[in-house]
C-alpha cells in the first residue's frame, strides 16, 4: 500500500488533473474514478517494493506538455508500417489520436466490429466494459490514462464470429519540439466461440522524448480464442508504461507475445485473470535492449479456478549498460486445483555493464498443482562459440548466430507471416548491432 504523502504535484499530475473535459458521460465517469486514484496515490519511488529496481526520475523530471502544445511534426510515409495481411483490418492512431484516413476496417466479415472507441461511446459493449476490466491497485499510470485518454481501439467479436484477417492496431508517435504524453486505449471483447488475432504496435518515428501509457482491456468469453501480439518499437528516448489485462472465461484461450525493442524506459505490466475452469493462456515476452535502455516487466498470472494451463517464457538479451527487470507473479488460489503452470525467465548478458534483476514470485495456496519456474542469467556459452568458430565462423558471427538463436524461440509462435518476418528482421538487426560486447564510454 502506497502512503499518500504530501508531495508537490508533478508536471504530470497537473496535466492529468487539468485534462480537458470530455463530451461524453462514459469518459467523464472514468475521469472521476481516475481522479480518486490520482488524489490518493503517491508517485512511485524505489522504496516501494514493486518499484525497487526502476527509477522513474526520468518521468518526474520531464516537463511534459499536452500533445496539442508539443509542436508535433506531421508523420511521413507511415504506409510502410502497414501489415499487408491487415490491408482491410487496420486502425491507426498518431499520438493517441485516431486517424480515419489511414485506417481501413472493411475486411473482417460478419459479426466483427472494429473501430475507434469514441465513435462507439454509446455502444452497449463499450458501456459495459470500458475501464471496468482495469485492475491495477494504486496505479497512477492507469489513472493518468483514465484522466487524459481521448480515444482508442475497439474490437468486438459477436458469438461465433471469426476475424478473417489479423487486426492491426498501429500506434505511431511523431517527432515533436516538446515532450508529450499519449494515452492509447484498447478494448477487445471476444464473445463466445469467437476468434481473432490482434497485432498491437507502438512505433516511435523519431528520437524525441514522449511518454505513452497504453491501457489494454481484453475479455475472452467462453470458448473464444485471442492471439495477441504486442510489439514495442518506441523511440530511443521514449517512455512506455503499458497495462494490458485479459480476463479468460471457461474453455477460452488467450495467447500474448510481447516484444520489447524500443524506449529508454519501459514498464510493462501484463496480467491474465482466470475467471472459470478449463482455460489455456500464454504470456511470452522477448526483450532486446542495449545502450542505456531500462525494460521492466511486472507480470501476473492469476489462477483462480481449477484446470488451467499457463505458459510464460520471458527471454531477455542485454547489451551496453542496459537494465532488465523481471518480476513474474504466479498466483494459484486455494480452490484452483490441477493447474499446470510454466514460467521461465532466461537472460543473456552480452556486456559487463548490463544489469538483470529477476524475481519469479509464486504464491500457491492449492495443493494439487504443477508449477515449474526457473530464472537464468548467463553469457554466451564459450563452448558453443568455439564450436561454431571451429566450423569456420568468425567469433563475431558465431556470437551473432547464437544470440539470434536465443531470441528466435519466443517469436516462433507469431503466426502472421509478415509480422514474423518483421520480428526476425528486428532480431537480426539487433544481433548484428550487438555481436560485440559494447563498452560504455565514460
Amino acid at each position: 500500500m502506497a502512503h499518500p504523502t504530501r508531495i508537490e504535484p508533478s508536471v504530470l499530475h497537473k496535466l492529468a488533473m487539468h485534462a480537458p473535459e470530455s463530451g461524453n458521460r462514459l469518459w467523464t465517469g472514468i475521469r472521476e474514478k481516475s481522479m480518486m486514484t490520482l488524489n490518493s496515490t503517491a508517485f512511485p519511488n524505489k522504496k516501494i517494493e514493486e518499484w525497487k529496481f526502476t527509477d522513474l526520475k526520468l518521468i518526474s523530471r520531464t516537463p511534459f506538455v499536452r500533445t496539442g502544445q508539443a509542436e508535433t511534426i506531421p508523420a511521413q510515409n507511415i504506409e510502410k508500417y502497414f501489415i499487408p495481411e491487415s490491408d482491410r483490418s487496420r486502425l491507426v492512431f498518431i499520438n493517441g489520436i485516431f486517424q480515419e484516413g489511414y485506417s481501413s476496417i472493411g475486411g473482417l466479415g460478419k459479426g466483427v466490429t472494429v473501430g475507434n472507441l469514441s465513435a462507439y461511446a454509446r455502444n452497449k459493449i463499450v458501456q459495459a466494459y470500458l475501464n471496468k476490466l482495469v485492475n491495477y491497485e494504486n496505479d497512477l499510470f492507469t489513472a493518468y490514462n483514465g484522466l487524459m485518454f481521448e480515444d482508442g481501439a475497439f474490437i468486438h467479436l459477436e458469438p461465433g464470429a471469426r476475424a478473417e484477417a489479423p487486426i492491426q492496431i498501429l500506434n505511431l508517435y511523431t517527432d515533436s519540439e516538446k515532450p508529450f504524453i499519449a494515452n492509447p486505449r484498447i478494448l477487445i471483447v471476444a464473445d463466445t466461440d469467437s476468434d481473432a488475432t490482434v497485432i498491437e504496435e507502438h512505433i516511435g518515428l523519431s528520437e524525441n522524448v514522449y511518454m505513452t501509457i497504453p491501457v489494454c482491456e481484453v475479455k475472452v468469453k467462453q470458448r473464444a480464442h485471442i492471439h495477441h501480439v504486442r510489439i514495442q518499437r518506441d523511440g530511443q528516448n521514449a517512455i512506455h508504461m503499458s497495462r494490458p489485462i485479459a480476463y479468460v472465461e471457461k474453455n477460452s484461450e488467450y495467447h500474448s507475445y510481447t516484444i520489447t525493442l524500443g524506449a529508454k524506459l519501459s514498464r510493462n505490466e501484463p496480467r491474465v485473470i482466470q475467471e472459470d475452469e478449463e482455460v489455456n493462456f500464454t504470456m511470452d515476452g522477448l526483450v532486446l535492449i542495449d545502450g542505456e535502455q531500462v525494460a521492466d516487466t511486472h507480470s501476473l498470472m492469476d489462477h483462480r479456478f481449477s484446470h488451467a494451463n499457463s505458459h510464460q517464457l520471458h527471454k531477455v538479451v542485454v547489451n551496453g549498460s542496459a537494465h532488465s527487470i523481471f518480476n513474474g507473479k504466479i498466483f494459484v488460489r486455494r480452490d484452483a486445483q490441477k493447474i499446470d503452470s510454466f514460467q521461465e525467465n532466461r537472460n543473456l548478458l552480452l556486456s559487463a555493464d548490463g544489469l538483470v534483476n529477476t524475481k519469479p514470485q509464486l504464491e500457491i495456496f492449492a495443493d494439487d498443482v504443477l508449477c515449474s519456474h526457473g530464472a537464468t542469467i548467463g553469457q554466451l556459452d564459450p563452448e558453443e562459440v568455439f564450436y561454431l568458430q571451429s566450423r569456420g565462423m568468425t567469433e563475431e558471427k558465431a556470437k551473432e548466430v547464437l544470440t539470434y538463436a536465443f531470441a528466435l524461440e519466443t517469436i516462433e509462435n507469431v503466426k502472421v507471416d509478415s509480422v514474423h518476418k518483421l520480428l526476425i528482421d528486428e532480431v537480426y538487426r539487433y544481433t548484428r548491432a550487438n555481436s560485440k560486447p559494447k563498452k560504455v564510454l565514460v
Binding site: Y387, Q389, S390, R391, M393, E395, V401, L402, A405, E409
Partner: protein
C-alpha cells in the same frame, strides 16, 4: 602437414599444465591414432590444435604446412583446412544443420579459393554427403545437435567433415557412444573421405575403432606426453596389457628430459 614441437599448454589463467612437451609429426595421406588413459591430455591436444581459447600454449609450436598457427583464431584454422570432430558436439538450438553447414562451407570455400554454392547447389551437394553416413535428410532441417542422441551427434560430426572437406581431421573419441552398426557406418564414412591429400588423427580409448580404420601410426599419451609410438599392432598390445606397463616409461622419460 602437422608438426607439434615440444608443445606445452595449460588452462588459460589457471597455470595447470596439461600438455607437457608433445612431439608429433603427421604427413599427408596418413592416419594416426592417439591412445591413452583418461586425463592424459588427448582431448586437450585436439582442442589446442583447433585453437580453443580455453587453453594457452606456453612453449613449443604447432606447425601446419610448415607454418606456425599459434596466432590463428579457430575460424582461421578451419579456413586453412583443420577440422575437429568434437567428443561432445554442442547443441545449437535455433540454428539448423543446413544453415550452419552452408555458412561454414561458403566461408571456408571463399577463403580457400573454391567456388561458393548457392542454396540450390548446396542442397544437391549435401544430399550426396548425407548418404555417406546414412543420415536421414530430416536431419538437415533440425537444429544443430538439438535433441540428437549421442550416436546421432557423432554421426553429424562426420557428416560435417564430409561436407567441409578438411585436409587435417582431428576426431576426438568419435567412436564413443556409437553402437556397433553406427560404428561401422561412421568408420566406412571416414575411410571413404580419407585420401592421399588429407590426414586424420584419431583420438580414442579403445582399439575397437582401429579394427575399422587402420592407422599407420599409433601413439600412446600419458600425463601430457607421447610416451610410445608404434604401428597398428601397438593398439592390440594396449588392448591386452592396458596402460599400466607404460606408466613407468613415462616417469623414466620424464626424468630423462
Amino acid at each position: 602437414m602437422l608438426e607439434l614441437k615440444n608443445l606445452h599448454a595449460e588452462v588459460e589463467g589457471e597455470g595447470i599444465e596439461i600438455l607437457k612437451g608433445v612431439n608429433l609429426k603427421v604427413s599427408k595421406g596418413e592416419i594416426h591414432a592417439i591412445m591413452g588413459p583418461n586425463g592424459s591430455g588427448k582431448s586437450t591436444l585436439s582442442k589446442v590444435v583447433a585453437g580453443h581459447p580455453h587453453y594457452e600454449v606456453t612453449k613449443g609450436d604447432i606447425l601446419y604446412n610448415g607454418e606456425s598457427i599459434l596466432e590463428m583464431d579457430p575460424d582461421e584454422r578451419a579456413h586453412a583446412g583443420i577440422f575437429l570432430a568434437f567428443q561432445y558436439p554442442v547443441e545449437v538450438p535455433g540454428v539448423t544443420n543446413t544453415t550452419l553447414l552452408r555458412e561454414s562451407y561458403n566461408t571456408i570455400a571463399a577463403s580457400r579459393g573454391r567456388e561458393e554454392l548457392d542454396p540450390l547447389e548446396f542442397d544437391d551437394y549435401i544430399k550426396e554427403k548425407l548418404s555417406l553416413v546414412e543420415m536421414n535428410p530430416d536431419f538437415l532441417e533440425r537444429s544443430v545437435n538439438t535433441g540428437f542422441s549421442g550416436g546421432e551427434k557423432k554421426r553429424n560430426e562426420i557428416f560435417q567433415m564430409a561436407v567441409l572437406q578438411p585436409t587435417l581431421s582431428l576426431l576426438d573419441e568419435t567412436d564413443s557412444g556409437l553402437d556397433i552398426d553406427a560404428l561401422r557406418i561412421v568408420s566406412d564414412g571416414i575411410n571413404k573421405l580419407h585420401g592421399d591429400h588429407d590426414a586424420i588423427v584419431l583420438i580414442t580409448h579403445y582399439q575397437r575403432l582401429l579394427n575399422y580404420i587402420i592407422p599407420d601410426h599409433v601413439h600412446v599419451m600419458i600425463n601430457g606426453r607421447i610416451v610410445k609410438t608404434g604401428g597398428k599392432e601397438l593398439a592390440l598390445e594396449l588392448e591386452e596389457k592396458g596402460y599400466d606397463w607404460l606408466e613407468s616409461l613415462e616417469t623414466v622419460n620424464g626424468e630423462a628430459k
